[in-house]
Symmetry: C3
Subunit: 213 residues, 3 copies
């Protein structure tokens, strides 16, 4: 399969560039989120929230383009279900990042806890690893690099789980205002789900590797 794949790849001018575009956009969104959470200026925060919104639309368009191409293309560089699943996972991560920024705005959250910043940091790290794995997927040469990225993403997701658990425990211990608990717990949960979706994307990439290696 690997040889056949390498033979087919030069002809694939569609899916790899689009997937790379999608994961580049994901990295961009994750960087804006981190910036938004660490800026002291509320004015700047508002701007960055609009920027995430804009990038979410960009991501949506890339997703639609891939889904449309999939419906038109008979031969794909790897299983069409895998392309679809990877595309959806990348789209989901961006959606959850956008969801967290939207809630911070809607809920008028002013103080950003260290755990929220830590989760955003982990999402950015996972996005960079995903992006590297997707670029490496293009020539299927650097299988080890892809596997390493995948291992790192699983460990990032475990780390995010622990941070989420501790943050929720601390929230119930320290915060006595139920309305604030509702808001903060949901933001933490949306960010933690973003790292779950990074793991979903890594699982798809792993399964592509297994089938084509």
């Amino acid at each position: 399969m690997a040889n056949l794949l390498q033979f087919l790849i030069p002809k694939d001018k569609k899916f790899f560039p689009l997937l790379e575009k999608s994961s580049n956009n994901l990295v961009a969104v994750s960087k804006v989120l981190y910036e938004l959470l660490t800026t002291a200026s509320l004015e700047k925060r508002r701007e960055l929230t609009r920027e995430i919104e804009r990038l979410e639309h960009v991501g949506d368009n890339i997703t639609h383009e891939i889904v449309h191409e999939l419906s038109l293309t008979f031969i794909t560089p790897f299983d069409r279900e895998d392309i679809h699943a990877l595309t959806s996972a990348l789209d989901d991560i961006v959606d959850y990042i956008y969801g967290s920024s939207k809630r911070i705005e809607t809920y008028k959250v002013e103080i950003i806890s260290t755990e929220i910043i830590k989760l955003a940091e982990l999402i950015e790290k996972a996005a960079i690893e995903l992006n590297g794995a997707i670029i490496a997927l293009k020539n299927m040469k650097n299988v080890n690099k892809i596997k390493e990225a995948s291992v790192k993403i699983h460990s990032i997701e475990n780390h995010a789980d622990d941070i989420f658990d501790m943050a929720v425990a601390r929230l119930f211990d320290e915060e006595k205002d139920a309305i604030k608990i509702i808001k903060m717990k949901e933001i933490l949960s949306v960010l933690e789900t973003a790292t779950d979706k990074c793991e979903d994307a890594a699982n798809v990439i792993e399964s592509i590797i297994v089938k084509n290696a």
Copy 2:
């Protein structure tokens, strides 16, 4: 494919009638929900809640019938995954409508906010568009009508998103009782998810069009 499809369709006595039955039922449920939310009589509201419950069971049975037929039928009018996905999406919409009525009852909500009524109105509109698209799907002639319905459903879903965001922002601004926030936020969220599921159904219909046009 279109010709082959038109050749096959006269033989399809199973899936189109069942899908239409399912989307007719969806329209019926969405109308009862709107009635329930706008009636002043608590007695009438209780009756309509039971009626939604009954129609949800009707929908369940149609869904089971389609899934059962799918497992027995080798040649389907379009991809079996698409029939399955469309069936599930229609079933999900009805489930979320039922879920909203059940919560209004369980949570003993007496005052229905304008945003809740607006969301129910949008769900009914989307249901009617879906129903029209599914009827048009049967003869594959009126592709433009199907595309228009799909565009309308996407715009309905965007509108529902905005209403949900504004309703939640207003809830946190005006309501100081955390228990009421929990109840209202969940009902709004269930209704908004119903419009997401309408969009899922529209996406499946679009992909059927693309593959068979």
Copy 3:
């Protein structure tokens, strides 16, 4: 198909043993949950929470093994999508059981309501039925036994729904502390979702039966 299947089965040394291992593990987890919820000793409860955590990891490894085997195996005893869906459903049930025990610990819940214990009892019953159905699936002889198990699981899920609804209604009626409502509602919801996932697994098993009977 049934004959072909019976011809193929003696060669399947992979999937049936692994699925059985997975459903055995599920039964074990569900028993520990019930024990955890009914013990009076907080010390013992802590131990059993760790035990569920350990079994969740065991389940994860079985799941990864099945997914890995699926990617390597060309001929499977039944549709690979069905093996994958059944594996995921079993994995999800264990995840939700683990999720409930983790929340009881994180939220420092001391008093376990009768509804929570009742839901855990239903999960254990459904797990035992699933386990029996999966063992019976191996030789495809006892189709009636599988169908009976499936009917029981559907009825267990309906029962769990009713208990959940009543528990949430009672919670809003009796509990005036919003923070406690948040905690208890979420634990009830996670347990109820575990029974939904049991139903998902039963649905996959039913569809396997229909296709191969």
